[in-house]
């Protein structure tokens, strides 16, 4: 599982305060804790509170890179904030994210290529988020075609299937499994299949259980990446166990310990 640790986000109070006071302590701690917990990437999102999003993004990335070598996911919907983040990047990097419109894909894929970055592409476009599998797969096709056209390495593309919160639209999550399955077969190598896991269970009473259950149900269908709470040990263990059950790793009695090392 490619786990993208979500905690360095200005939506959280400790990160918001850190940005405001330019106090790196909390950010450093979160970078180390998430790295130790096994994060493949550290998501960096300045949130909405920062007055200077560009300055905040650069500062957060510099603090993290000063602390750990863990790859970074630059999380912003604003192109200039992403670009500013890339201008100071030293660690391996993933851009989170672009929509599936042709002109957006063009712009972001070319930017990613310039920085040898991976790229999360959402299955949504200016018409919004499709409600059915067919329309979502049309966007996936468009993403893959664009990648092939621009000779963008497909193994560096992460398709985010835009997982709805369970308490917003209960019909949607079940469609995701079929979509993961279809993306897996679209090319060789196929793009990764990603979801925003915490978003899915946000505002519910059984947040962690819902996230954990969705993840373990998704893995057999080909879900292999998620923006998630890597500090939730039960969630990380469940993901690894699901992968062991699907024969993606060699079993051993201490497989959990081995993975955490």
């Amino acid at each position: 599982m490619i786990s993208i640790g979500e905690r360095i986000n200005g939506m959280f109070k400790d990160v918001r305060e850190a940005i405001k006071n330019k106090d790196p302590k909390a950010v450093r701690e979160l970078a180390i804790k998430q790295t130790d917990a096994g994060a493949s990437f550290l998501d960096v999102n300045v949130g909405t509170a920062a007055a200077d999003s560009i300055g905040a993004m650069k500062w957060l990335i510099e603090v993290i890179q000063d602390t750990v070598k863990t790859p970074i996911a630059i999380d912003s919907q604003k192109y200039d904030v992403v670009k500013a983040g890339l201008s100071v990047i030293k660690n391996e990097v993933l851009i989170n994210s672009t929509k599936g419109d042709t002109e957006e894909l063009d712009k972001y894929m070319n930017l990613s290529k310039d920085y040898n970055a991976s790229l999360i592409c959402l299955t949504m476009d200016k018409c919004g988020i499709p409600q059915d599998i067919e329309r979502r797969m049309e966007i996936v096709m468009k993403i893959v075609e664009k990648a092939v056209e621009l000779e963008f390495d497909l193994s560096k593309i992460y398709i985010d299937t835009v997982l709805f919160p369970i308490n917003v639209d209960q019909k949607q999550p079940a469609l995701m499994f079929e979509i993961f399955n279809q993306i897996k077969m679209i090319s060789d190598p196929p793009p990764h299949r990603n979801v925003g896991l915490s978003n899915f269970s946000q505002g519910t009473k059984e947040k962690r259980l819902l996230a954990r259950t969705f993840l373990t149900m998704g893995i057999p269908y080909g879900l292999d990446a998620a923006v998630m709470d890597v500090l939730d040990k039960d969630l990380m263990d469940a993901a690894l166990t699901a992968e062991i059950i699907m024969n993606q790793h060699v079993y051993s009695d201490s497989y959990l310990t081995a993975c955490r090392k």
Partner: protein
């Protein structure tokens, strides 16, 4: 029509290990051997770096083996009572890349020789040859735990490959190798899950992963070769897909296992239809070795000079 490129892309690889230490590294070896480093499955170098060539370690015993057929003992008849001379012959005449000293004589049922005897033998071999050494205990846990630490201490700084440790007995030798700067062989009896487990257990003692060589126990041609093969193949695929606990180079015990087969050792008059044993025995050993090479092996323990020559020729042609 364009032929599609079906080459796989691998994200991981086999650890690289250098065995033996020269004077400037604290040992007395004149040659070191580097193994591992593969980033593709064997003989598929169009998919990635095939890594270092597999090497042949020839077995030398501390006491003359009693069960060797004449075909096998004949080339060593003049040296079998002197492990140092035996080792020298293997290196100088038969081109052994390494020597594997098998301390059978310390086994309680095979002579029960003392740790002091073992130390003496190790020192004499280190003085006689300049290639790196594998030192293999008698596989009796209690006796090995008594003798191997002393042997390890005697060879301190030489960066030997010491074996073996298993799921049930690994602490003593792991701690010893860590202290004396040796590499270690982790053993599992044809069981990939236990193989991984032993690697984890050893690494939990802070033993570096890049100083471990894996041993799955070996089945000879006709005697379980396919079990060893499929496990080693799976280990190699796990290494190539980035499983750190399965990324160790692999050692096989081909000589000992191949020569236990009746097809290798039977007399000509017992089975005339099988052809002359002078050819049959070495062939049995060579075919076992070459077959296992395809699964991903880095060190092959071997016995007969003719088989060694055939296998080395094959390796040199294929790599």
């Amino acid at each position: 029509m364009e032929i599609p490129n079906v080459a796989d892309k691998w994200t991981g690889g086999v650890n690289e290990i250098t065995l033996g230490a020269t004077r400037d590294k604290g040992g007395t070896r004149e040659k070191t051997v580097t193994i591992g480093g593969a980033k593709s499955i064997p003989f598929m170098d169009f998919e990635g770096n095939p890594g270092h060539k597999p090497v042949v370690a020839m077995d030398v015993y501390d006491v003359p083996p009693e069960d060797w057929p004449e075909t096998l003992s004949k080339p060593f008849a003049d040296v079998m009572n002197d492990p140092a001379k035996w080792a020298k012959k293997c290196v100088e005449q038969y081109g052994a890349d390494m020597i594997c000293l098998k301390l059978d004589g310390i086994h309680p049922d095979k002579g029960d020789k003392s740790a002091e005897d073992a130390v003496k033998t190790v020192k004499s071999i280190l003085a006689a040859v300049s290639v790196p050494l594998i030192i293999w205990g008698c596989e009796h846990d209690e006796k090995d735990n008594e003798v191997m630490p002393k042997v390890s201490q005697a060879a301190k700084g030489e960066n030997c490959l010491m074996g073996i440790v298993s799921q049930n007995s690994y602490k003593t030798l792991t701690a010893t190798c860590l202290a004396d700067g040796h590499c270690i062989i982790t053993m599992a009896p044809v069981d990939i899950n236990i193989g991984k487990q032993v690697n984890i257990l050893v690494s939990e003692m802070d033993f570096p992963l890049n100083r471990i060589v894996m041993f799955q126990s070996t089945g000879a041609l006709g005697y379980g070769l396919e079990y060893t093969y499929s496990i080693q193949e799976r280990e190699r695929l796990a290494a190539l897909t980035g499983d750190r606990m399965m990324s160790m180079p692999v050692i096989c015990d081909v000589g000992h296992e191949a020569w236990r087969a009746k097809e290798a050792k039977s007399d000509d008059n017992e089975v005339p239809q099988w052809g002359p044993r002078e050819e049959r025995g070495p062939l049995w050993e060579a075919i076992t070795a070459v077959s296992l090479l395809q699964s991903g092996v880095d060190i092959i323990r071997m016995n007969h000079p003719k088989a060694v020559a055939a296998v080395k020729k094959c390796i040199n042609r294929l790599y």
